[in-house]
């Protein structure tokens, strides 16, 4: 059973073709970098995967199920299985660090007991144990991104989508986040990293899918950033 299967996907916005008949498969536990220039459709692929968008043509399968046929309830469950990490963090500004993680666990139906047990551990894992009661505006960019990763991990996802997660970070924080993602991947969670950071992709030495003009131009097992 493949984790993700994009089958002949096309997506256009107002007649502009962003993705042109692309197909690829992602297996459980894989680490895949999606590379290409800005506007090439990397984010669109991620948005299609969590059903924030629907494809103009083609079908997307998650664990062999066609997600275009999902009911709203199935979409909520899909989003709990796929964690999203964004360049602009998307943290709940009215909730502190602890509550941001707890909220993700609450929507997934975890008990109060497991929330109070797991959240401090997750905060410790990402080095934010002393920031539990701080609100997002009180955190640095690196801390915010680590908090997002903790929130994603709280839902124990099968796949993590990271959309330019290091775009707003300084070099030190950038590599900390990449190390964290690699560690999570080693523990068995599949990761799709959308980036245009050549250095990161070449250092990772993992599978690379290169996009150009809405098409997949390369898909290499141990690829490099070549655009």
């Amino acid at each position: 059973m493949s984790l993700v299967y994009f089958k002949n996907i096309s997506k256009s916005y107002n007649g502009n073709l962003i993705l042109d008949n692309i197909s690829f498969v992602i297996e459980p536990g894989e680490f895949v970098s999606l590379v290409g220039r800005s506007g090439v459709g990397k984010t669109t692929i991620l948005r299609l995967l969590i059903r924030e968008e629907k494809p103009t043509k083609g079908r997307i399968f998650f664990e062999d199920k066609d997600i275009s046929k999902f009911s709203p309830r199935e979409v909520f469950i899909l989003r709990r299985k796929i964690g999203m990490i964004f360049q602009d963090f998307k943290l709940l500004e009215n909730k502190d660090a602890f509550e941001n993680i707890a909220f993700a666990m609450e929507v997934s139906g975890y008990s109060e007991e497991s929330i109070y047990r797991d959240v401090p551990e997750l905060l410790k894992l990402v080095g934010l144990e002393k920031r539990a009661n701080n609100f997002p505006y009180q955190l640095s960019a690196g801390e915010k991104q680590r908090l997002v990763i903790a929130r994603v991990l709280a839902q124990r996802p099968e796949l993590i989508l990271a959309d330019e997660p290091t775009g707003n970070l300084d070099p030190i924080n950038k590599w900390e986040i990449i190390k964290l993602l690699s560690k999570i991947n080693e523990l068995g969670t599949a990761i799709i990293l959308a980036t245009h950071d050549k250095e990161i992709v070449n250092t990772l030495n993992k599978r690379v899918i290169s996009l150009e003009n809405g098409k997949i131009v390369r898909d290499e097992k141990e690829g490099k950033y070549i655009i």
Binding site: I50, R51, E52, P72, R73, V75, F76, I77, L78, R79, R80, M84, K90, L91, L92, E93, N94, K95, E99, F103, A104, E106, V107, S108, G109, S111, E112, R151, Q155
Partner: protein, 302 residues
């Protein structure tokens, strides 16, 4: 189920504590809406009471010939009381009529002198008829004009009252229509005010709503706290509106009643207090819930 409800309630309470200014802005606007609504309701109620009071003052007086024996007049009274259109008939004898006339004109020495010079009671005995409904006076007059005692009557004084009654009836109909339209318009205005305030409050939280959806929160999990908040705002606004209304009525009621005793504002307010509280609170809850539901749904998409 219980855990979800507990979490929705927790999120609702956190939402209030962490967005206090937004919450109070909504409460203030809703209080204004409820004041408009309740003031219109009270105005309509008091106006109808006033019209009823004016209508109840209308009557029809039958003046009998002076030689008509009292027993015969009382028999006519009994006959008329059997008419289902009539609610009340008062008999005023010649002596009583004279006493009333003297009392009313005690400050008019000319009239007193004329009465003394006449030497006898010039006034007739009469029956004062009150109809159950002011619309029925003309029908009662028609009945009397076709009755056996018609020839014993000197005068039926409906003609002078009739125009007033017709005017009041026409005014009542027009007032019912206009006040209903005004209530509808004001209710729509208050819904628009509340809806826009709540929509703006929810609009400022649209990113939070988007994030909640991205982490897989169900629509009801997101919607729940906003709906409870809307209902809570309605409830608080209703209490605030009452806290403004009660002292206003206590202050304004006696002033209006001194000026125009027929406008029994305080009496209407206190005798309908329970009804006003229930209607106002229900309207507040409805406003809060429906506005929040509409506003939040705009941001819930799959």
């Amino acid at each position: 189920m219980f855990i979800s409800l507990k979490r929705v309630l927790k999120t609702f309470w956190q939402g209030i504590l962490r967005n206090k200014s937004l919450f109070f802005a909504c409460v203030l606007m809703m209080t204004l809406s409820l004041l408009i609504f309740t003031a219109t309701l009270i105005f309509r109620g008091v106006s109808f009471k006033l019209i009823e009071a004016l209508k109840s003052k209308m009557d029809l007086i039958l003046y009998f010939e002076k030689d008509m024996p009292e027993e015969d007049i009382l028999k006519i009274r009994e006959e008329l009381l059997a008419n289902p259109l009539i609610s009340e008939i008062n008999y005023i004898s010649q002596e009583e009529a004279l006493a009333i006339f003297k009392e009313r004109n005690k400050t008019n020495p000319t009239l007193q002198k004329v009465l003394e010079e006449l030497g006898e009671n010039p006034l007739s005995a009469s029956l004062t008829i009150r109809a159950k409904d002011s619309k029925n006076y003309q029908e009662i007059v028609n009945y009397i004009e076709n009755s056996s005692f018609k020839d014993k009557l000197i005068n039926i004084n409906l003609a002078e009252n009739q125009k007033i009654i017709e005017r009041i009836n026409k005014f009542t109909k027009a007032f019912q229509l206009i006040s209903f339209s005004v209530i509808i318009i004001l209710v729509i205005i208050s819904i628009i005010i509340t809806f826009n305030t709540i929509r703006m409050a929810i609009h400022s939280l649209r990113q939070e709503i988007e994030i909640m959806q991205l982490v897989g929160a169900s629509f009801w999990f997101i919607r729940g706290p906003f709906l409870i908040q809307g209902a809570f705002q309605g409830l608080i606004s209703s209490v605030l509106a009452l806290l403004i209304l009660v002292p206003t009525i206590l202050w304004l009621g006696p002033k209006i009643e001194n000026f125009a005793p027929e406008i029994a504002l305080s009496l209407y307010f206190w005798s309908n207090f329970g009804y006003i509280v229930i209607i106002q609170t229900c309207f507040g809850l409805f406003l809060g819930l429906i506005s929040s539901f509409w506003a939040i749904n705009k941001y819930l998409k799959i």
